[in-house]
């Protein structure tokens, strides 16, 4: 049933229906950017949403709405299209970062070989991050309370025998104990991550450092 590193269909439905948070929507949209088959599924799901919208019983709209719209569109300035620059990033992420490159972001060191940028904080302590780890680094062993999505943008890492490379997504939840990602040797591994609650780091040193690094 599960395909390694590919988001399950229930997430595609939730994206299409508008049920995801900003952070989850960004991760799902960026993930889909890598996989044409997921884009087709998403279109199918959005087609279902559109058909459901169309099949709603039509309700009365105010008699002046159309005239209001006409008077507004007469005053609209012509749209000026900003030249977009994706900096080699997938479109949804490039747009989200206002077309800044990764180097232009404000990276904070979290420890040896590990740095992060926090992009968004939502309700229920939900946080969106970019994480960068040096090739060969070991992320401290930890447990999760809540859901964590990790999308690889560059480089790769292993969890057990599963490898996650660019475009692949790892979903970890309450049941994921002793989560110890191992960054593969080579280029830096950069990931887009959403956490729902602070993760629980096992080692004493890690626990002491946690408040400072902000995970």
């Amino acid at each position: 049933m599960k395909t390694h590193g590919i988001i399950p269909d229930e997430w595609i439905v939730s994206y299409a229906s508008g049920a995801l948070s900003e952070a989850h929507a960004l991760v799902v949209a960026t993930h889909c950017h890598f996989h044409p088959a997921l884009q087709q599924k998403l279109i199918d799901a959005e087609n279902i949403g559109a058909l459901l919208m169309e099949s709603r019983p039509p309700v009365k709209v105010s008699s002046h709405m159309f005239d209001d719209i006409i008077s507004k569109i007469d005053d609209l300035p012509n749209e000026v299209k900003q030249p977009s620059n994706d900096n080699g990033l997938p479109f949804p992420l490039a747009e989200y970062l206002n077309h800044k490159s990764l180097d232009q972001l404000n990276w904070r060191m979290m420890g040896p070989g590990l740095s992060q940028v926090r992009l968004w904080t939502g309700p229920n302590d939900e946080r969106l991050w970019l994480l960068k780890a040096k090739g060969g680094a070991k992320i401290p062993s930890h447990d999760h309370s809540g859901l964590e999505l990790t999308l690889v943008l560059q480089g790769s890492y292993h969890v057990g025998k599963d490898q996650y490379g660019p475009g692949l997504l790892e979903i970890a939840d309450d049941e994921t104990k002793n989560h110890t990602p191992l960054i593969d040797a080579g280029e830096d591994c950069i990931c887009l991550v959403v956490t729902e609650a602070p993760i629980k780091i096992h080692s004493l040193l890690g626990r002491l450092a946690q408040p400072f690094i902000g995970l």
Binding site: P8, D9, E10, I12, V13, S14, A16, S17, G18, A19, L20, S21, E22, A25, L26, A29, T30, C32, H33, P36, Q39, Q40, K41, L42, I43, D44, A45, E46, N47, I48, G49, A50, L51, L52, M53, E54, S55, R56, P57, P58, V59, K60, V61, S62, M65, F66, D68, I69, I70, K72, I73, L76, E79, S84, F91, P92, L93, E95, Y96, G122
Partner: protein, 233 residues
């Protein structure tokens, strides 16, 4: 033989469509099927609202994009505004708020009609996406990142070119049948997703079901709907 006759009609259309209509006709010829071009040519002569009932919604959007045709826009408004408002009212908002957002969605259609490519997307899907994102932006005050820019909606598949209106009516019938074919449990999770925008865990709380059950029901319902609507693209 039929082909030659259609070609002749297009040529006739091009000769008549001079001045400010010319670019449109040339574009139409380049972009659209022969039958669509012929219909649009017909529309440019019969410049009155009643003429639009023969057009598909996608064809009307092309008229809005190319000619800023207000009759065509009015026709789209009459069909979509009451349905978009109905969809938005699901999200516990005031009638006034739903009116305001519907108005914004229709203004976006007017502004961005030229970005819409009928070869790649259905206008109802495009409007659904705009309405969904407007609600999230204005009410939930969050962004909703999209996979592609709206002016290059990649990998969508062209709608059938023939009998557009008939096909639209059939599509409406098909989604109703496809929804009816789901079992009650599957229909419930799809409705809570699309009409309440509930997350998996919110659906679990609402229905008193384990999270895993909610997820598998959504998966199975989606699978069933995709099979029913397989060639609907």
């Amino acid at each position: 033989m039929v082909f030659i006759r259609i070609k002749a009609m297009i040529n006739a259309g091009r000769q008549i469509c001079i001045g400010n209509r010319e670019a449109f006709c040339l574009t139409a010829q380049g972009l659209m099927s022969d039958s669509l071009c012929r219909n649009l040519y017909k529309g440019s002569i019969m410049d009155e609202p009643s003429a639009f009932s023969d057009y598909s919604h996608e064809q009307l959007v092309i008229l809005v994009a190319r000619n800023k045709d207000r009759h065509a826009f009015h026709h789209l408004f009459d069909y979509f505004a009451p349905r978009i408002k109905s969809y938005l009212l699901n999200f516990n908002m005031s009638d006034q708020k739903a009116e305001d957002l519907t108005q914004e969605v229709m203004i976006t259609l007017w502004q961005k009609a030229d970005k819409f490519d009928p070869q790649k997307a259905r206008i109802s899907t495009w409007l659904f996406r705009v309405a969904r994102n407007k609600y999230i932006d204005k009410v939930r005050q969050q962004k909703y990142p999209e996979v592609n820019a709206d002016d290059h909606i990649a990998s969508m598949i062209a709608p059938e070119k023939t009998d557009q209106n008939l096909k639209e009516q059939q599509d409406q019938g098909r989604i109703k049948m496809a929804m009816a074919a789901l079992n009650d449990e599957q229909r419930k999770v799809i409705e809570l997703s699309f009409f309440k925008e509930l997350s998996h865990s919110q659906i679990a709380a609402e229905t008193n079901l384990p999270l895993g059950t909610v997820k598998s029901r959504i998966r199975m319902a989606f699978q069933a709907l995709r099979e029913e609507l397989g060639d609907y693209r």
